[in-house]
Amino acid sequence: MAEVKSGFITTTVEVEGRTETRVVERPAFEPTPWGTDAALTHVGQSPPRVDAPEKVTGRARYTADIQRPRQAVALFLRSTVAKGTITHFDATAARAVPGVLAVMGPGDAPAKTRLFPSAISYAGQPIAAVCAESESVAWRALRAIVVQIDSLPFAATFEATAAPDAPKVRSAGNLAEPIVVSRGDVAAGLAAAEVTITREYRTPVALHSAMEPHGAVAEWEGDRLTIWESTQGIFRTRNDVARVLGIAQSQVRVIKEYMGGGFGAKNGAGAHTFTAALLAKQLQRPVRCVLERDGEQMDSGNRPATTQRVTLGARRDGTLTAIRLDADVPLGISGWEGGPAQLYHELYACANVHTTERFAHINASGMQAFRAPGYAEGAIGLEGAMNALATTLGIDPLELRRRNFAERDPRLDRAFTGNALRQCYDEAAERFGWTAPRPAPDRAHPERVRGRGVAAQTWPTGGGPPAYATARLNNDGSIEIASGTQDLGTGARTVLAQIAADAFGAALHDVRVVLGDTERAPYAGNSWGSMTTASVGPAVRMAAEDARAKLLDAASQLLNVPADALETRESRIIVRDSDRTMTFAEVTGKLGNVMIQGRGSRGPNPSDRAIVTVGVQMAEVEVDRMTGVVRVLRIVAAHDCGRVINPTLARSQLEGGILQGLGYALFEERRLDGATGVPLNPSLHDYKIPTMADCPAIDAWCVQNVDADANHTGARGLAEPPLIPTAPAIAAAVADALGVEVSELPLTPWRVLAALG
């Protein structure tokens, strides 16, 4: 391990496609990178998830499973109008329902919480909360609240909110300043093109639809607040709560042991968190506030819709000369500007790129990051247009991508730490049989036509500081690793245990990983942006190595040999070139209550290098020309995420992303009623997500490409990338089958039939 001067430096980190500059602490030492030839015992293997036994026995406790003594239940009353003013609110009858403990309505919550305003700005917005002894009492009381809302004209589409006489959606204005990003000279690039194509694509509002809804349980002990929350960021939730309630961060503890998925929608405290905390304080009882399914589908975040007008210019050999995008994105009432443009700048080598994104606020629930925000939408436009260009040029679409492969990060003109996209192209083509002759059409069913499509992907997955971990070796030789990150179902707990076991030279079953508790573990960031493995993995490795060095120091005293003559393997200390060994427990047992501890932190990323996960997917579909029904028969997916810590878990991530992408392609679409702005399908019945019956044959893997330049574990992120190319690959396969493009997602039967004319 190399000694470096510790201290603070300025570095850049990429989160969800955005670049942020941060001042971070440089660790005291950087472990030697685990290169291709590193001798690793656990990393690269596929032990089962360390928490799988809890999950298959029902012992895993999720937020709604927390039952504190005297716990009460809170539920929301939600607006049924898209815009309006509450002119009358009467909760007298609700308060009189036996078992009701409290009602909060307009004006009852501190302004900073932004809870229960009397000005309504979207359908589904919480108007009031009822707290009761039980859920059924709370339901009854909700129905007894009398509310009068004077409804006002609203704008729930981009066109409506951008119109000159549009109702005011936000006082600061309905439209944000457009974001224009340009490199080269797109006009010159188009002039130089031998072929240009222009297309327009529309993508729907998609809902995260985690099986576990958002929820919190809050409990006060004196002036200290504990919150159990289904969250992707315990520290962010803690800080949100402290800021909004005006208390110190040290007064708030946030715990998340298990959670039923997040996918980007659970990145901080929400209305339910503040409501639970305020009611718990008022009643001096623990309060649980978990969203019901319609609340979850109406008001817990979404992937915003886009309209993308794309122009590509190319030479006859397929070389891109220009890429232009004009995009409209209605964000909802709130959210950040996660638009589709960035992918257009990053995926292909092209000297001239010009993108314009127009963001608008509308009277609908706010957007939240949703697995690969912006890139998933952008891939529909960019990859759709690339496939159309391939058809126009008569070039195989995979070959077109090969010809425009970016050797360097085209956006910032810097080298990649690693980018095996061409290897992904080769391996996927081989396993899919991309060049194999097509099967003969089904004579018995001439209406059933098959097609194939391809799409590629890139996504920034470097992770970065700050992230911390601690390691401690107990008396009995067992090891505890603590880091304030969280496992959303991704497998972080398992992957970090594997890294720690190898760094320590310990048996995997001796390692326990403690996550998801702001009081027990040092800071780690949100589990978003496919950052956890690449951010926290190195911190965990360093903590384990730091503790291991101390263990070896102590062992060298006991064994009377220099520490550098010692090795560790499977929780044993071995004197090199001898048969003398001691178990960790034998060493610690002799040390009494001395506690061996290690501290790890994530160092900065290499400067001037792009760290990305890339990949390609191929889809085969069957479309019924009579009914318009699309069936995905198989998906082949090859991605490069650097070193794979656990191949089985990686494959699960790939399959999960692919299935969400399949839903995005075929079924998923939040619909608002045009006349009222009210969501029409806030349920799992009407908002369709894929079921097992929709599941195609999936062949997904990560190509071998250890990336020791990205960070010293050699691993990059993987969670979001697989979602990006699935929908455009399916759309391309449908276009291939039909001979006509369907340019609006999802590819429902009526859209397919409409495209057929």
Partner: protein, 154 residues
């Protein structure tokens, strides 16, 4: 009313509106069975009632009088030894976040009782009512198939 819950007798008189899910989760603290949609759309609350799968969120507790309820907590053996289906879910990574898993297990267990050698198509059709947003379906299918094969080999 009386029930047998995971082999143990239970007697009580819950409020008339109490669902089987409410009884299990809130009164008996058997929180393995999950609530996700509360309206029969997702399968997270799947339990077995006299061997048939039901949505506990749509089942009134009183309607179960005299019947045997089996939940995910009842799958493991007396000493906590995991049964073959649970072990297969672990071996094939058939639980990502794990939230849908109890319902998946109870549905799969009922499938194998009703049809010990299901085809892949039969597995897909039977399991289609149990949603999994993490997209664990391929691994769930593999786990069920593996158990069916192992059991038929005896």
């Amino acid at each position: 009313m009386r029930l047998t819950i995971n082999g143990r007798p239970w007697e009580g008189d819950p409020a008339g509106e109490t669902t089987l899910l409410g009884l299990l989760r809130d009164d008996l603290e058997l929180t393995g069975t999950k609530l996700s949609c509360d309206r029969g759309e997702c399968g997270a609350c799947t339990v077995q009632l006299d061997g048939r799968t039901v949505h506990a969120c749509l089942t009134l507790a009183h309607g179960c009088d005299g019947q045997a309820v089996r939940t995910v907590e009842g799958l493991a053996g007396p000493e906590g030894a995991l049964n073959d289906l649970q072990a297969a879910f672990i071996a094939h990574d058939a639980a990502q976040c794990g939230f849908c898993t109890p319902g998946q297990l109870m549905a799969a267990d009922a499938l194998l009782a009703a049809n010990p050698r299901p085809s892949d198509e039969e597995i897909r059709a039977w399991m289609a009512g149990n949603l999994c947003r993490c997209g664990t379906y391929p691994n769930i299918l593999t786990a069920i198939r593996a158990v069916a094969e192992a059991r038929s080999r005896g």
